[in-house]
Amino acid sequence: MSERIKILTVAIVLLALASIVPHTTSFVVLLATRALVFAILAMSVDLLLGFTGLASMGQAAYFGIGAYLAAILATKYHFGLGWDFWLVVLLGLLLGAATAAFFGLFAVRATGVYFLMITLALGQCVWGLAYRWNSLTGGDNGINVTVRPNFGLDLTNERTFFFLVLGFFVVTLASLYVLVRSPFGRSLEGIRERELRMSILGYNTWLHKYIAFIVAGAVGGLSGVLWAHTNGLVTPDTVVLTTSVDSLLMVVLGGAGTLVGGAIGSAIVFGLREYLSTLVPWWQYVLGAVYVLTILYLPMGLMGLPARLRQWRAGRSKSEDGQTLAPVQS
């Protein structure tokens, strides 16, 4: 598939989503909105995992920071409920980026398993603050965000809100797409493939990773701001380890290094968790099995399925020739 057809496909799917979802029940609209918010978070994970080769286990930290920011401003200061909502979005991006800039000083040096562990620990730091800092975060009870912003657009309307989140999703997707297609994005992929070679070529690999980390933090903060208003309740559960793990799984499930893969993963996870769970009590077996099977048999995720099928068909017709004739690299 050429790049143009891919973009066209994504655009058609998004248009279909925009035209079908608003005509369904409000339950489905809410479900789609939630899945889209998590899709934005998943894209931030994908920027690190799929393009830079860094598996972050603490992405919920930025998500939580954005969510608490919006919730605290809305409930304590009545800020961000009118036009100033856009200021809160900006603040969420900035605070996410600033936190990532600070955390990145510790995390970005680490590689492999150690990066995983240190991001886990950083995520737990934020969780610890959310859980115990009662006077600011409301502790275990969290913060109820009862009203949604209204600035001409009345976001209390589920369908209007869905369109807003969809808009944010599209803008984020487009921006990150431009980013990963830029020379900067290419050098990230180079770092993912072989960091040593990139640094020998003269790239400052630490700085590249650090910038990717900050961008991912900003996007995470944005998704958090949206989550506060989607969910209406921000608790330490927003920042808990399983949220980070979920976003990572969504990316792997859909396909890392594709940006939209995370959205597919998010749709599946939310579909199973919130829709299947209303039908059958054993939905979590399905979710667990989907994870286990994906990891065992689809390392490239669902987006890798067509390539995998092609490879399989080609393998049957052309035997092993393709393998040996592959260009010799490195």
């Binding site: 510790f106 995983l116 620990a121 737990q124 793990v245 054993w282 099995a289 065992l296």
Partner: protein
């Protein structure tokens, strides 16, 4: 805050650290030998507690519950390692995600089998009162936790330092490739260590379940603590796990007593610093 306050806090911290040692040492061994970040480790803890509940319901014996839960969960770990983890090869991300997938499966299974209510494991009557030492009331169960961790810790240490098997394990931690080169069956070592890690976690589960209660979600509550122990102490080092567990136990207790609002922050922030400065932990081998 007089001396009594400090002594009680230290005692509480050490006894909680003893529990953390049981959970963390297994995780540390697994990581040290196999470089697997095992996110099902919290599930082993919770499963241990649940199996213990079943044993107590049928036989009424708390003491019997300890080995039964340990062995049952060790078997679960063994199967997981042999059937699912080994074919994956060395890919940290896939290992992590696979173990999370299993953690979700275990979560649902225990919800189905044991229900979603908070449950209590009764401690044996002999352990449910307090003793008085120098004017301090010390709950006997906490004393038992410390003793248990000491016994298990010393037994594991002796096994690691004094037996042939232990030497093979240490060789595998230091350099797996070299160990294979001199004829050590590292596959068997991995299997053994994974089962041992699960066994220790389940043991911790029985004791921790008696101490904290048993409820869904306890698995992912214990997991970050276990990681803190491993990271602070150093991965793959038993002595490191012991010191890490004591530090985490004390930091947790004093954090909660002195700066309640920053309690968990005071625990995880040092973890970040140690990882940033010395990724292998305070006592980990390079």
């Amino acid at each position: 805050m007089n001396a009594q306050f400090w002594l009680i806090q230290i005692f509480n911290g050490i006894s909680y650290g003893a529990l953390l040692f049981l959970v963390g040492s297994g995780l540390s061994l697994i990581f040290g030998v196999m470089r697997i970040v095992n996110l099902s480790h919290g599930s082993y803890f919770l499963l241990g507690a649940y199996v213990a509940l079943s044993v107590i319901w049928t036989t009424g014996s708390w003491l019997l519950a300890i080995p039964v839960a340990g062995l049952a969960v060790a078997l679960v770990g063994l199967v997981m390692e042999r059937v699912f983890l080994r074919p994956l090869g060395f890919d940290p991300l896939r290992q992590v995600l696979l173990t999370v997938g299993f953690a979700f499966l275990f979560q649902q299974a225990s919800l189905d089998i044991w229900g979603g209510n908070n449950m209590e494991i009764e401690a044996p009557a002999a352990l449910s009162h307090s003793i008085v030492v120098g004017g301090l009331y010390l709950p006997l169960f906490r004393v038992f936790m410390i003793a248990m961790a000491l016994v298990i810790g010393i037994a594991t240490w002796l096994a690691m330092e004094k037996t042939r098997m232990g030497a093979a394990v240490r060789a595998t931690v230091d350099d797996a490739q070299m160990a294979r080169g001199v004829g050590i069956d590292t596959n068997r070592i991995s299997m053994f260590i994974f089962a041992l890690g699960a066994f220790l976690a389940a043991l911790g589960g029985v004791i921790g379940g008696t101490f904290l209660g048993v409820y869904p979600g306890l698995d992912f509550e214990m997991l970050p603590f276990a990681f803190a122990v491993v990271i602070i102490g150093g991965m793959g080092s038993l002595g490191g796990a012991a010191i890490g567990a004591m530090l985490v136990g004390l930091a947790d207790n004093f954090g909660k007593a002195l700066f309640p609002e920053l309690a968990y922050f005071t625990l995880y922030a040092p973890m970040v610093l140690i990882l940033a400065v010395k990724p292998t932990g305070l006592f980990g081998r390079e």
